[in-house]
Assembly symmetry: C2
Homo-oligomer: 338 residues x 2
DNA sequence: AGGCATGATTTGATCGTTCAAGTGAAGGAA
DNA sequence: TTCCTTCACTTGAACGATCAAATCATGCCT
């Protein structure tokens, strides 16, 4: 209610000065143990909480971390970022931060959003998602010397300045999916992914290729590239299966593609059904709600872990340590589809 | 970069005092037109942006609106709130606000989160989602006299103090779905919803009942209540169809339930298939990604509109006007399933 | 004993904005 | 003329915290 407890109130209650209270909270090591305890008790009793506005005015620290939420949803894959947002909210609180969300469409608009936010709310750091080739956002933030971490590794060819990042090893994910299929006896395994040039897409294709190579299986003619979408996945799957009737399994770079592929895989089609002796196996990527719902085997990204790492890397950055990074391992969630 | 433009800089550039600049920005009507223009030019030229921290320290206004993001996802239905979050982020920016997100599990924890946020970040308002019977959050906020709006109408029996709310007319949605089915020739239409007592669930059941009544169709024995989930939906559907072989369509209170029902509806089952002459039609609620993906006819909530209304109602509240509310109409998205 | 470094705490100034009160000029009414 | 209003703008103080510098013991060395 009358929550107007200031640092001066605490000081009075503990019989010390304002600054000592401030020290207890910010640099406890300079305060004598006994005094520290007394102050903490007073803080507790009065229910004191720092006024972030005042602190921020003096220090420039706002206690806020800014993150983008996408204005439009591709429906299925967008939800990965939402789940990441949830996880990040929790991790940030642990570290004493809160999340400020913003929207922006495209790199340049997002940079404009940075400027806007910095002018008005001064977030202490940014968390960038969906990094890509020639990402203007990272270079801009680096130039400005602003702290940030990306969820997604830097895909840039040129080894620009280092910055902290967290990512999930996509290749390991498709590798796991492919290996799983091989273990189940599949020998002709197709891949449906995105056109060359997207870091994430190329990475996922690599994993599939790697697993086939390791098993001594041929990959020629077994890969298709298309834009992300259910219809696109369906078309690519139809194309692949028509071109090579021996195919019995499909590894997809996303759940959207996989869902489309599944439409084809589950419909009885004389051309290949005889060879396959049943349905074509399909795996997706991201373990979205849709995958759970329709029993799609999919690669799961450890988003909570990623969020914790993001915050930890930022904390290290604040302490002046050089930018670190973390590459996390995904896991395969096996369901009916494969 | 050296973004350290203060109100004093602008004042100097425009040849006026600090306060006049402040007035131009906050109460333009008290400033002479000519001066106002001169100040605005200076603002523009210097790229001045108010420092929210300083403003907030003086006024108590933070420019932040707090909203919860759910820590855990039920996978399918959770995404509705995510979509709402996106929409709200955009509407808030239009009105000069930013969104601060937090997590909390249960009413009491959420109230604790309110206190925490108020002490440290002083959000100007809260947006509450998922209102329910005996919602302790709304009563707490009302007691404290804090501004908030709920997305979800107040379901409380006792007409407590009024507060602004926005909601989507769930009954209208199930009514539309049911009417659509009737128009397509269905006569025995079942309903799968949640146990009595949840405002949202009861509301949706009402709509189904209303549509049947209006068409002079019997509803006895056609309703099932279960917890939300795919397996639950499947079980309820199986039960309903077994109990009444004449049923040819199912209206569901959520996409999760509908998805489960769809499993049953699409499998050939001699018991009823002969009567239905095909598959059992199914409709869901929320028009989630899953619905889009699998071609489920579903009731779509106008979330962007809801978000705009939330912000507008808060703005009116800030102006001292009495709490308003808005009941928005959903729309039926017809796909293959019905 | 005197000087000096060290540790623990206090005091004054300050961040950028807005509120409340004040100034000064112009215009009317007495 | 004198006084009072009104309008347009200015000035000092304050919000609550932290920084930088000052104070005051205390212990140690010479």
């Amino acid at each position: 209610m009358a929550d107007k407890v200031t640092i001066a109130d605490v000081a009075r209650a503990a019989g010390v000065s304002r600054q000592t209270v401030s020290n207890v909270l910010n640099t406890p090591e300079v305060v004598r143990e006994e005094t520290r305890q007394r102050v903490l008790d007073a803080v507790e009793e009065l229910g004191y909480r720092v006024n972030q506005a005042a602190r921020r005015m003096r220090t420039g620290r706002s206690g806020l971390i800014a993150i983008r939420v996408d204005p439009e949803h591709d429906g299925i894959n967008g939800s990965v970022l939402d789940r990441f947002l949830h996880a990040l909210t929790e991790s940030a609180v642990q570290a004493g931060y809160r999340l400020l969300v913003y929207t922006a469409d495209g790199d340049d608009r997002e940079i404009a959003a940075f400027e806007d936010l910095l002018g008005a709310y001064e977030p202490d750091a940014f968390v960038l998602t969906s990094t890509h080739h020639k990402d203007r956002r990272t270079s801009w933030l680096l130039e400005q010397g602003l702290p940030f971490v990306t969820f997604g590794r830097p895909w840039s060819e040129l080894p620009a300045l280092p910055h902290p990042w967290v990512d999930v090893d996509g290749a390991a994910g498709t590798d796991a999916a492919t290996s799983h299929l091989i273990a189940k006896g599949h020998r002709r395994i197709g891949f449906i992914g995105w056109p060359d040039g997207s870091g994430v897409g190329d990475d996922r294709r690599q994993g599939w290729l790697r697993a086939l190579d390791r098993a001594g299986l041929d990959a020629t003619g077994l890969s298709r590239a298309t834009t992300d979408g259910i219809a696109d996945g369906e078309a690519a799957a139809r194309d692949l299966l028509a071109a090579d009737p021996a195919i019995t399994a499909l590894v997809c770079a996303s759940d959207s593609l996989a869902l489309g592929a599944l439409h084809v895989a589950r419909e009885p089609s004389p051309a290949w059904r005889a060879d396959a002796g049943g349905f074509v196996a399909v795996t997706g990527f991201d373990d979205t709600a849709v995958a759970k719902a329709i029993g799609l085997t999919s690669v799961h990204q450890p988003l909570a872990e990623a969020a914790v790492n993001c915050v930890a890397l930022l904390a290290r950055l604040f302490e002046g340590q050089p930018p670190g990074h973390a590459l996390l391992q995904p896991s395969l969630v096996v369901r009916q589809s494969a």
